[in-house]
Symmetry: C2
Subunit: 229 residues, 2 copies
């Protein structure tokens, strides 16, 4: 591969807004930086794109380094390219949102290879963020607000088996408003992509709810057409 391109190059980085849903709260994973600039500030996890990886691969790698997991659901949503967004040089960053099931066992223990520590923080109570990361977060939240209306991304935030009330809570917290229980159930079931299981919730001190699974096969047959919240 011969390099005959004109010569201004800039660094390209990836930043990830990794969403998790836990006990009715929408959280994102933030890291505490251990390097200048913005040492000791909270920031979105991110890193530079390497020469031999695509931007998608780079985002996957960052998520893997952070959580130890592969195959996290993610989607690119915007590229931030202001000249002075990074104080130490020109860095254009490609932003991804990612969605993670926070099961009780594994939750809240991410690996921390490139930061002092990482922590899940409620999106309502974010601390000041490094760089333009608040802006990047805001656009990411906006995106999932729009996309949850036509893509079944709510199920990426839930365990494999879930109750309808849990699904409703995900919609409520992302859309930022209360929904009517009966109407919500009718609608979400009308898409025909949830499979009712023979199982019930366990360990709760009230009437146990029926568990459901997301049926990827049935969803694939819709070609994305019919899912419109």
């Amino acid at each position: 591969m011969k390099e005959v391109l004109p010569t201004f190059n800039s660094a390209v980085s990836i930043d990830c807004v990794l969403f998790g849903f836990d006990e009715g709260e929408l959280k994102i994973l933030l890291i505490e930086r251990n390097e200048e600039p913005f040492k000791d500030w909270w920031a979105l996890p991110g890193n530079l794109v390497k020469p031999d990886e695509s931007v998608d691969q780079s985002a996957s790698r960052i998520l893997h380094e952070l959580t130890g997991l592969s195959n996290i659901y993610m989607e690119q949503y915007y590229t931030f390219g202001e000249v002075n967004r990074h104080p130490q040089g020109r860095v254009i960053t490609v932003a991804y949102y990612a969605l993670l099931r926070l099961s009780n066992e594994k939750s809240l223990k991410p690996l921390t290879s490139f930061a002092k520590k990482a922590q899940w923080i409620n999106v309502q109570q974010l601390p000041p963020l490094a760089f333009d990361h608040l802006n990047i977060f805001d656009k990411g939240l906006e995106k999932i607000k729009r996309r949850i209306k036509y893509l079944p991304i709510a199920f990426e935030l839930l365990p494999e088996k879930f109750t309808l009330t849990q699904v409703q809570h995900v919609y409520e917290v992302i859309l930022g408003k209360k929904l009517d229980k009966r109407n919500f159930r009718k609608k979400i079931l009308s898409f025909g992509v949830l499979k009712e299981l023979d199982e019930k919730q366990k360990g709760v001190s009230f009437r146990a709810a029926t568990l459901y699974k997301f049926d990827r096969r049935k969803y694939a047959k819709l070609y994305g057409k019919e899912f419109s919240f």
Copy 2:
């Protein structure tokens, strides 16, 4: 500004899918390349991002160089970052769609500073395109299909004064399907963002249609909430 960043850098470019609407057809502006690689192939207009311009500014500049116009409506929609998408080196490209009024006077005479020639080509009849530009185009068309349902972008493709039938044609050609005339008119008028003028179409050999304008003030008052096609 001290450069202390790690050292892999890549070139970043912009590619623009510039849409125009002319006599009922949706067209994009393509250039014929006069340099290797892909010399003599058709391609999307694009260029490298310069050190002192943001990606948005870079896209504006490219559109200006191409058409002589400023303030063309444009929006970033995706970044393409496969490792081998450019045969001569690592180039990550940020894609924009842009929408242009093709008025009869000025139409079809773009400047051609960085290509042999430029031409408006119907999106139904695209020639083979350089690089991954067909893919970039496809995603761009998909985006405007989605966005025309909740953003008033149709009016960016029309002259300042237009007939309702023209608006309908824009929707039909972007959505790729016929719409019912009466239902379309009811709906588009129900948003309350069109102002009926006292003027009629001129120079047609049939009953002259009423002209309308898009009313940006009224639209701004909606906060984007109510526009949902």
